[in-house]
Structure formats: C-alpha cells, structure tokens
Amino acid sequence: MKRATFDAIQTARAGKTPIALVVDLSDGTEALVTAETVDGSLPDEIVAETRTRLRDSKSGVVERDGGRWFVDCHNPSLRVIVVGAVHITQTLVPMAAVAGYEVVVIDPRASFATRERFPNVQLVDDWPDEAMEALAPDRRTAVITLTHDPKLDDPALHVALRSEAFYIACLGSRRTHASRLERLRAEGFDDETLARIHGPAGLAIGAVSPAEIALSVLAEMTAVLHEVPPPLKSANTNAASAA
C-alpha cells in the first residue's frame, strides 16, 4: 500500500468520511472512491459497484471482464446513543466501545451525567429530543433508552422512530413498555413503526446486575445488526425486566 493511499484513508477515517480502497489484484494498483470522488483509474461500473458496497459496508472481491478488484470499505464506526446516564449505562459504555461502537450518552440531569461517572465518553446534557436532532441518527446508529422516565425517553423515541436507526430499544418491564407504546400510539405512531422498538430491551439471559443487563442489550443489538432473529427473546425475560 502506498503511503499516500494509507494517509488518505486515515484522513477520511478521522473525518468520518466513508471511503473505499479498490485494489487491482492483478498488479496491486490502488484507487480511492468516496460518494463524490474517484482518485485513480477505474472502469465506471467498478466505481458504481464500489459505491453500492460502500453504502452497504460490504467489502469483497469484484470481478468484471477478466479483471479482479478487492473493494475494501472504511465506514465510520457504528454509533450507539444511550439516553440516561444511569448505572447500567456506566457498564454499557465501555462494553459497547470495546465492541467497536462510538458511544454518546444523553442526560439533562446534572447529577447523572457527570465526568466522574463517565470519564471516557461524549456526554450531552441537552433535552433528549434536541440532543437527538443534533446527533441525527442514521442507519449505522443504535438508540437505547434507559431512564424509565417518559419525560426523557419519549422525546428521544420520537426522533429515533423517524430516523433510520438500525436498533431502537427501551429498558423497562413489559407493563412499562405497554404503556409506552400506548402513549406513542396516541401521539400518532403506527403499529409498524412501533414494532421497531425492542422492549423490554435485551435478550432473556436472566440478567440481574447492571453489567449483565448491558451485556444482554449489547447481544441483542449485535443480533439485530447482523439481521439474525434475536434468540432467547420470547420464552422468558430478564429478571430485571420483570420488575
């Protein structure tokens, strides 16, 4: 890999610009493709295929007319927005970070969202709807509400449900979740939209402690990301969710 190619990839990654490296496997020639630019010599159809793959984050070998190229997609990290700087969040933040997520925590309550409780994460103390609008969740973003408080969770859900967020989950018992759905339905969200919410959040692994609940939510988020049916979902529930 040429140093200039390497530097361009690192610059794009730092600026959170999706970029694909395309390597001609016959001779190692490199080209760089973004949504707007092409740096290097590539057939038009390979550029088009690369952009499709970049959008879907699908690296792989492309073959055309006897040529072979490796398309290597570099997208910004997946992101998880957590509403509520609660005890579970303190364990979820480092777990999600290790799993490769960029993490943002929203909580307007000053006693919760402190730097001491959250030393290594972006904290936003705006009201959740305002904060969520600014963060603009996209298809590579997950949204998890953990406050149990409709005043804080619902405004965040309003924005999340209008976004392409790939995973939306809410902590709370089945009863809490049922009343949440009632409120949102009354506010105009249809059943298809509300079905996007995973509630109670997490897989049923008998999670009790904050770390175990965080683990169950991260596991469910992973299953949804990879489009496999979340296992352990309907048979029973986490101990904490039953409360």
Partner: protein
C-alpha cells in the same frame, strides 16, 4: 467529540501500522479478501506485522497467522504483493490448515514508507 481512545486502540489496526512505519519499522499488511465456508474472520480483517514479528489484528482464529507472517517477511523485503490461499485441502493443512473447514484468501502487501 468522543474520547473512546482508551478502548479503541486495540482495534485501530491500520493506525498501529502507520505508527510503526513512522518509527522506521518495516511493515506488511495482510487482508482477508475472500472467504468460503466457515472462515473465522470476515472479509476486510487485517493482520499487521513488522520485521521482528510483532503483530496486531488477525486474519483467522490463530490458525494461519504463523504462515502469513513468514510470507509477510518476504513481502516486506521485495515489495511485491502476494495472494495467499488457505483451506483444509491445502497441502500444508497439517500446520496451517483451517480447523473450521473454511477457505480464505489473504492479500499481503508492504506498507510503503
């Protein structure tokens, strides 16, 4: 913005490659470009190696890294990229085969200073 660096450093494999290069070390990058069957690491996974055999990242569950590193040493010297292929049918299956029964193609290249 975020300050997840304390957690993210392990996985910034390309970043590590750049750091090593800036320190004057010879660096090769191995990338999984194609898989068949139950290969342990997906397309795009990387292993970065220096001339002393220091490594970060992975291209398998540890099954073929040894063989990839040996090839990487030569690629570091010659600068000519190589395509490697591993699978259970490989003649060297005894020591570098994939126990999972998958096949994997790995592109090895030198990171140019």
């Amino acid at each position: 913005m975020t300050e997840n660096t304390a957690f993210a450093s392990v996985d910034d494999i390309l970043g590590t490659a750049g750091t090593w290069l800036d320190e004057g070390r010879k660096v090769a990058v191995a990338t999984v470009i194609k898989t068949w069957g139950s290969s342990p690491r997906p397309v795009g996974s990387r292993l970065v190696v220096d001339a002393d055999g220091a490594m970060v990242g992975s291209v398998s569950g540890g099954c073929i890294e040894g063989a990839v590193i040996r090839e990487a040493f030569e690629v570091m010297e010659t600068g000519a990229p190589r395509m490697l292929e591993f699978g259970v049918s490989n003649e060297e299956a005894w020591d570098v085969g994939l126990a999972c029964g998958g096949n994997v193609q790995v592109w090895v290249e030198r990171l140019e200073a």
